[in-house]
Each structure stands twice: as structure tokens, then as C-alpha cells.
Assembly symmetry: D2
Homo-oligomer: 351 residues x 4
Amino acid sequence: MSNKQRIGIVGGTGYGGAELLRLLARHPDAQVVAVTSRGDAGTPVAQAYPQLRGVIDLDFVAPDPNNLRDCDVVFFATPHAAAMHDVPALLDAGKRVIDLSADFRLRDARLWAHWYGTEHACPELIERAVYGMPELYRSSIADADLVACPGCYPTAIILGFKPLIDAGLVDLDHLIANAATGVSGAGKSLKPGFLFAEMADSFKAYGVAGHRHLPEIRQVLGDLSGSAASQIGLTFVPHLVPMIRGIHATLYAQLSGQADLQALFETTYANEPFVDVMPPGSTPETRHVRGANVCRIAVHRPGDGNEGNTAVVLSTIDNLVKGAAGQAVQCFNLMIGAPENQALTDPGALP
Amino acid sequence: MSNKQRIGIVGGTGYGGAELLRLLARHPDAQVVAVTSRGDAGTPVAQAYPQLRGVIDLDFVAPDPNNLRDCDVVFFATPHAAAMHDVPALLDAGKRVIDLSADFRLRDARLWAHWYGTEHACPELIERAVYGMPELYRSSIADADLVACPGCYPTAIILGFKPLIDAGLVDLDHLIANAATGVSGAGKSLKPGFLFAEMADSFKAYGVAGHRHLPEIRQVLGDLSGSAASQIGLTFVPHLVPMIRGIHATLYAQLSGQADLQALFETTYANEPFVDVMPPGSTPETRHVRGANVCRIAVHRPGDGNEGNTAVVLSTIDNLVKGAAGQAVQCFNLMIGAPENQALTDPGALP
Amino acid sequence: MSNKQRIGIVGGTGYGGAELLRLLARHPDAQVVAVTSRGDAGTPVAQAYPQLRGVIDLDFVAPDPNNLRDCDVVFFATPHAAAMHDVPALLDAGKRVIDLSADFRLRDARLWAHWYGTEHACPELIERAVYGMPELYRSSIADADLVACPGCYPTAIILGFKPLIDAGLVDLDHLIANAATGVSGAGKSLKPGFLFAEMADSFKAYGVAGHRHLPEIRQVLGDLSGSAASQIGLTFVPHLVPMIRGIHATLYAQLSGQADLQALFETTYANEPFVDVMPPGSTPETRHVRGANVCRIAVHRPGDGNEGNTAVVLSTIDNLVKGAAGQAVQCFNLMIGAPENQALTDPGALP
Amino acid sequence: MSNKQRIGIVGGTGYGGAELLRLLARHPDAQVVAVTSRGDAGTPVAQAYPQLRGVIDLDFVAPDPNNLRDCDVVFFATPHAAAMHDVPALLDAGKRVIDLSADFRLRDARLWAHWYGTEHACPELIERAVYGMPELYRSSIADADLVACPGCYPTAIILGFKPLIDAGLVDLDHLIANAATGVSGAGKSLKPGFLFAEMADSFKAYGVAGHRHLPEIRQVLGDLSGSAASQIGLTFVPHLVPMIRGIHATLYAQLSGQADLQALFETTYANEPFVDVMPPGSTPETRHVRGANVCRIAVHRPGDGNEGNTAVVLSTIDNLVKGAAGQAVQCFNLMIGAPENQALTDPGALP
């Protein structure tokens, strides 16, 4: 056990934290030594999460830096604007940090403050953070000591647009990302709209005027296309589905040239362990990725010609796995030099 | 009772038929006298639909024209390609027909045959049919003896695009209708994909290559814009939501001019009893229209300018009410000169 | 309109209040004149409940007695321990009160204090209250000025046991009520366990050690059997189902004699407008009563003899209608001498 | 790989088959070499189950004995009355068989014929079969060449009653098992009642007159108590919950003596790897066992004395894991001398 990385999880009562515990419990190179919770300190982790009875034998501890002093790697599974207060000291102490929250995703601290409603606590560290999407930044992640894991929507949307943008095939002024999510993306927020009685048997859009994931998507699509984020004309409308897990993005792009889209996608992701391009004509379902660290993608060119030059990409992930904890473990594997798929090979249970 | 219209319902075991029975049960000007079912003839209607115990005291009869001879008005709630075989004789016998199926929606019989996989049985009657959307064709419906009720997706999508197209404000080459439906739109089809175990807790697109409602929507948007249907560049991607009822359409259009979109929508529908333009910033939920004959609409101009000239319209209906049986009763009211909202004023139950 | 009863609803933001608004909106003898809400005073009712846009044109007012001074009848749709503070003054002012909460259901003020955790504010009024279950106390309700509407579980369970107890057929020491509820029975409580992510796709028992509805059921079963409540040996285990509405009670009783149970149930409820005894062998589903003011019941004598003398009763209601607002309107109809089924005849929408 | 057991799965398109594939895919001592399907022979397994893309690289083969000739162990995940036709030849060929269906569960061939509606094809083999519940028959399973895996309801119910019956504490004439299941227990049956539109947002009992799992439960409870099955007075009422997976049994028994029930349960299962007795007062939820091979149990003595001598046991399993495929793999592990928990240690994903 002496060679295992000692892991701390900050914010262990949320869904991201629980999913980290599930994945790391069987990771041969990781040993979770501290799980913090402001509200549940002193009670067993398995009391909050009975499915972990017999799997995790730790009590929650207070989110006190001292409780993380024995860790090699600290995962933050906190709401936004929490990690940024603790990360500087942890980095100074030589620990590596994987942040599942939004704190280090945007390179522009002013933009971050605009969308998150507070000043950034350590803008000087933003540049040091690597965006934790291995399909784009694999080698940088391996060397990083601060990884900013992407949001769930950005993961599905960026992986879906990437082949088209890499190939310079689409009009960047008129991209549309129509996306739908299960409610676990909102965590355990006690808001009326997330009550079963309010959201079961219903469907709605939300955040039409602007969602916090929009600037993050624009920034990365800008990187991919060699443009400024402000040049990416993207309309993003998220929707809430009465389901627990899953992100489904339906992407629309105007093609500016001819290409075999299926071949383009298959080639782009031929060597990616966690992006699965489905056969032509497929419509991936969120249950096909439930519990698994995989993004399943299909690309379509609909219609009989009347639809003109529109490409449609369908991109699905589990928001808690490839959209959060799984992607974080994938980054962790890269950082410690383990096989990238360590502890991430389980297919989900279906139905 | 002698002044009531005597009603026949063909295809009474489906969800459209059940919803007609619910609405007509309390209609002061209607008396249901015959409900047909191929499989359940001879058994009480209330055995198939226990919620109608004490409300409907009829047995299903075989779908034999003779069983409809006492009717003044016949509603078809059948799968496609059924009504077209019986309608000619019913019209000859002086009855008025309201068809909830697809048989008389498309004006082009060849296009119909292409999409529905069989030749049309009475193409000469197609021209006689009036498209049963009162917001577009109110006066023609009043005089019609054959009404072709719109599909559920077309109802939500056409009502959502109408103000923009009427005003000549949008680029007709790049319309996008991203829509989501509850499963009751598929009726009681015994297909694996509609099993609870297959579709609960999941979300997917379907019919990306082409859905039967697409030519119907193009035809009507063509009418609205004064263009041929073939000139309407519409991409339509439907999705399946784990819910029973509801259609939610998220419409994207490129604006070609400036306008106060909220005012435009409110003005367009100011006098419509069953189209409700929500306040600015609203996100209508399908549960807000569940069980009710209403289309709730919101219009948005998202973002901070980077999204350019994209308008987003959110349009919701109950697929079985404003998308089927309710709209059919609305047409019926117009046809018999009753108040248009007769038997259609109940708000739905929520939650 | 001058002959209509002027109605006040206290606690209008909850689900019981919303359901009252739905039912009373179309009641020919009622005019809702005041709807109170502590948190939403000053905002339109239809903003909280968009399905009521165009149906209710009132703003919420503060729960100030002055705002109820014009009412003839006041409905309380509040959490427990609220109505008891306001009812005395309302009765003094000559108003009639229909309380959907628990405040006046138990005749024993000490027992009430034990289960509800606070002293009763007006124990002297408890005796004046009539238990609002028309099938048991119809004539007293008609004359009452204070009606204590039953809880949702008690309604389903008492109506299910009543024929057996009336006939003296069962062992009162070993009654079992295994019941299941949709989550709307908990109202809009912001508790983690009622979040969609926590209760969807799962099932559990709760309150096994003792649920507040237990003493209420025992009291009424005692009345029916001529025993003290303390003599009723009832085990009651409630369960939470991932659905919005509905109560389903599965009742087990040891028969102490022989009887034609089907005939017994049919005779007992032959003249009841809102209790529907299903045909032999039926298994009523909660969706069969969704949105409707009806209790659907089936009685079974399972097995081949090995199960001995056990009778099984299945009893279903919509917790918000026959289990709350609908039953309250049924009482209101009796109180004002209107037809008992006024505004209560709609079948629910299914599916 | 030469030391791995070569596995055949008959009936691979059903949910039990898919779950076997998920569990065996990572089993170090198993190599799935043949998966049969009558309807899908020739197509890739991963086409029917996209979540298995990259995990299983086999095509379905026809259910022809020849296709199983290379197997060491054959699992049957077929509907009842299928395995019994193929098992004799497989045993003759020296293979070991683990049958997840009902064919070899009942020791009385006449009783089997009564409940399953057809004569048993090889009654002479029934006695050779060992009932595959390790908690009761561990050593016999290890030596068996034919294992009859228990039904899902029997697993939850028998494990729940076992401590009470072992201790001789309960009245065997008045046992009640009120149970609820997710719909995956019905497999992919194309029956209207299993459609999403028919069972979502609803709850019902079914099979009240007699369910096929009843004689199986009686047989085993008889074994436990030293009585004939016919002496077990058990009333069993199953219910259908709008959820995918999970069994929840609420068991009622009349105590005939005094005991510390919590201690009794903890002692009984102290050494069982897959039965988890929860702390006093717990109410296990089906999601707590979702995807995991575990039975979580709580025991209660409700009330304040008025409920008399009734014990209530809450017992939950995942019907597809501990109720089917997981228990089958547990038996397989015993049969091959592997650690009993091999490939069965994953906690489920929650939420």
C-alpha cells in the first residue's frame, strides 16, 4: 500500500464526491485517506451513502487543510468559488490538485468574475491550471499540478464539435448546441424545481439567456479553431430531463465544405479510449453511457437535400462520470503515469 | 338531447380516442353514440379505461360503417392509412369527418405515398380537406366537412414559427426545430423502445434522417411565407423524453431584421383563446399545459451579442390535447357553431 | 354572482391549495375571493401556477385575518399547527371553516400534542369539528361549521376496511395496512429525500416506527367497530413511490367468519357517488383515479386455501383529490346544500 | 487464458443475459465463448447492448447445442420451460449448468406443471438440482452440476424471513409478504402493461390470486422450519413500481416469543458476504442495492405496543443482480472454487 497515492476528497457529500469514491475504491494505485464534509463531519461516509457500506470505512472530516496534510493528490468536488480559497496552500505544500468545480476553467479572471458573481481569489494560478480534457490536452495534464476538470455540458459539446472544427468545415458564426441533462448535474441543491413532484413527467428549457458553461465552451472552441472565444457564435440552450444521470447534446452546424463526416469522426477519435463514434445512423441514448466513462457520438447529415448544409451531431455522456468524476480519474491516471483507463473500464449496468 | 350532435369515434382504444372520450363526455352539444375497436368489440369502453367507469356507458363496436350510420360527426383516432378507406363513404352519407390521423394532411398525394409507404386511397378528397389548425384556417374549418387535424409536432412548431414568418423576419433557409416528446405520442405501440425498462431514466434523439411530420411542417410554413414547401430549409430533430405527455419545441431562427419579438408574439396571438404568450424570460414546462388545450410560448433573444442574430422560441403543448383530441374538439366547435372553447376550458392538474 | 359562496384559501402556494383552485375555478356556487401566501403575497397566483393563467386572476395576499373578512367559507391548506391559531376568530366571525390539515382530526388533544409535537391552541374546538369523510359522517358534515378533512392515507385505508369492520368480520387485533404514496403528499417540502435525484428509480418504506396518520386511522376504525382506538391492533407501514400523485393501500385482515366479500363491498358502497367497487379480480392502479375524486377498491381472497383466512383489500385514491382538495369540496357541497358531486365529476386524464 | 472456465450463455438478449455479460466480462476465471439468441443470431452482442461496445466482441449464435460444445459451464437466462429441454444433453456431455429460470426450482414436478402450465420435460433431474441460494445451500452448490437459481422475489423474501424462522419465533400460519418490484423483472416482454405510458407515474398490485413465486417461497420456508410447504400460511402480494430495477419486500410476522430481533438478524448474517443487516431504524431503499450483489435488510418492531406482536422486516435486492445474474455468478464462484465474491464487489452507482 505504500506506493499508492494518498487521496483527499473535498466536498464528499455531493454526487461528484460519491462518484469519486465509487471509482477510486477499486483503483489499484489510489488510497482515499480523507473525505471532507462541512455538514457531516464525524459521521461515517457510508451512512450518507449506504451503497458504500463495506466499501469505504472512513468518517467525514471537517474541510480543514490540516485534514489533508497526508494527501498526495486532492480532488475538489465542491460548488464553485470554494476550491480557489484552498488551492494555493495545497500547491505550496507540494500536493497536486484536481478541481472538478469551475474555479480554474476560464483563463480570463474578469470573465470568471462576471459569470460566477464574485472576484477570483487567486487569479495568478489560473494560467497554471490545465483544462482537464485528455482528448485535447493529454500531455499537459500529465505534467500538471493543477487540473481544471471541464463542466459536463462542455465535455459533451466540445467533443462533438471538435472533428468539424479541426477540419475547418463549419461556419463558426452559427453554431447551435441544444442540450439536455439529468438532474444530478445540479447536485443536491434544495431548490423547488429539483423536487420530484416538480420535475417528474415534465420537460423544460432553462438558462436561455446565458448559462455558465457557455464561456467555457467558447474558450475551448476558440482554441480549437484558432479564434478568440469572442469570435465563436454559439447559441447554447440547456434543458432539464426527468432522469437522474446523462447529458445529451444535439449540435447543429452549417457546413462550409464537403466531407465524409462519418470517416472524419472515426479518424479523429480512432485512438481515443473514451470516445466511441457509433455506426452511421445511430442515435446514442444516455443510458448507453450510464455509469461509464465514455462519450458516445453519432454524426448525421439529415434529409433529402432541403435541409441544405446542416450537420447534426449527437453526443452523450454520463454527467457524473465522463462529465465529472470519471474524467477526473482519467486525468489522475495521466498525472501519475498509470494506464489511462485504470479503474475506468466498467461498462454501465443496463437496463 | 335531440339537438346534440351524435358522435362516432373510430379507433377508440388508442390514447387519442380515450382523450376524445374524456373531453366529449362533458360537451353539452355532443353525444358519443359509437366507439369502434377492432380488437375489443363487445367489451365495455370503461373496462379498457377504468378512469371512465361511470362516465362512458358504451361497449366498443366493430369498425363497421354500419355502426356509424347514426352519427352526425365521425372522429378518426386511427393509425395512418386507415381513415382514407372509410372517409369517402361517410362523406357521401352526409357525415362530417374530423381525422386525427395523417391521411389528409399533405396536399401532395405523391409526397404522402413517399412518407407513409403506401398509395393514397382517395387522392381526390385531399383538396377537400381543411388543415385543422384554427389559428391559421379558422373560417375554412367552420365550413369544412373533412378536417385533417395537424400532427402534434407540427402544432407546436408551426405556432412557434408563425409570428416570425408572418413578419418576414427570418432566414427560411436555416430554420431549426429541436423538439422533444413524451411517449404517448407513439400510442400504445408494442415496440421494445417504448417499454418502461428501455426508456425510463434515459433520453435520445430519433428519426434524424427524416420524420413524417417534416413535410407537413414544411407545407404549412410554405403557406405562411408564400413559398413552396421545398423552399423551406428546415432541420427537424425529434427526441424522446421519459415522460407520458407533452411536446416541447425549441426553435432556432436567424433574424434578418430588427423587431421587438415579445410584442410581435403578443400581438399575433392577442385574440387566440388557446395560444398563451408567456412573459419575457419565461421557460414554459410541459407540465404547464398537461391535460389542457393550450400552446404556451416564450420567445428569447439569447446572449450578449455573441450569439448574433439568433431567435429562440420555446413552444409547449400536450400532444394528446392541443396536439390531437383537444384541437379536434376545437375544430368540432367551429364546425357546429358552438363557442370555440366549449368543453376545453379546464386547466390541467398540477403537479 | 351574488349568490355564490365567497371563498378564502389559506396556504395557497401548496399543492392542496393549487388543487382547490383548480376544482373551485369551475364550481358554479363558489367564487374564490382571497388566496393567502406568506411568501408570495403581492404576486399573481398564476405566476406560481402557470397552468392557472387565464383561470385565476388574483394576487396572493398575506395570511392576515383581515384579508379573509369577506369570505363565507375558508379552506385551510396549511401545514399542521397553523389553522388552529386562526380558526377561533373565523368561527366567531360567523365563517365556516374546512381544514385540510391535521389540526382538528384527533379528538384527544393530548394524543394530538404527542404526535404533532406542540400543544393544541384551541382544544375546546376539537369536539365541534366534524371529521370530513362523507361516507361516514355525511349528515353531520352538512350542519358543521368546522370540518376536519381526513388525511390521505386514512381516507384510502378507512374506506377499504369499513365494509369488513361494519360486518364484524375481522380480527381487530391483527390488521395490517401496507400503503404506498406519490410524493406530492409531502407537499413542496425542501427535503433531500424528495429531490428527483434521490427518489426517482427507487422505492422505500418510511415511518415504520410510527406515522402521524396512525392514531387518526385507529380513532375512526374504533368508531366503526364500537371499540376504543387503543383496541385497534393495526400495523401501518407507508412507502414512497417514484410518482407524483396517488395512494395505494394493500390491506390485510384475518377473517373471523364467512361472507361473500365482493357482495359485501358492493352493497356497502352501492349509493356512494365517490367509492367505486371494482369487479372481482381487479387490481386498481393509482392512475385510474389520478385527478379524480374517487376511491377505487377491489377485494380479494387470495390463494388456494393455504393462505387461510386472509382477506386482501386494494384501495386507491388521488391523494390531492379524494385524499385532500376533492374531499374538501365534497364536504363544501354538503355544507351549502349543493349536489354532492358539484365540480367533482371530471374523470382524470389517462395516460 | 487456458485456465479460465469457458462460458456459454443461453438467452443472451434478455436482461438477465445482459447482466451476466456485464459481470462475467471482468471475471478473471471466466471467458464467455458463446451467447445464444434465437432472434438475433449473427448480429453483434454489442449492437443489442451498446453499453457493451468494446467490452464484448462476440456475435450472437443460434441456440443450437453444437454452439455450446466448447463450454465448461452453461448459464440459462431463458424464459421458463426452455432450459429443461436442453439441460439433460448438456449434463450428459459433462457440462455444469446454472439455470436462472424456474425450471428446476420446485421439487414437486406436479406442482411445477400446475404453476407453469406444461409438463416438466425431465422430472428425473429435478432432484439433482441444488437451489442456488448460497446463504442456505452453500456446500451443496459447490458440488452441484445443476444449480437452480432462485427467483427474485423468493431471494428477498426468504432472506428476510430466515432469521425469524430459524429461531422458531413466528407463527407460520400468518406470514405476509407484501413486495414491490421494478419492471425489469418482467424482462423485455412486449405487454401493454409494461409500456412507459401505461406504468409511469402509477402503482398497482398484481397476481393477488397467486404468483408463480409463491410455491417456491413456501417450499424453502418449509425447509427452514422443518414443515411441509403446504403448512406455510403465506399471503404474498406483489406490486409493480415505476422503476427499472429493485425488489423491496415488506414482511409481516406474528411473533410467538421474545427476542432481540436486531441481534438475531446480525448474528444470522454475520459471516455472509452479501447480506447486509442495516442499523436499527433503517429503511433500505432499492437504490442502495442497485447494480450490486447484496441484500440489505432491516428489522423493526413498530409502534407503542398497540400493534401487538408484529415484526416487520424490510428486505431489498437488485432483481437482476442478487435476484438473478449476480447470485448466479456467486454460485459459479462456489462451483469452481473461486473466492465467493469474485467479480461481485462493485458497489452500485448512486444516484
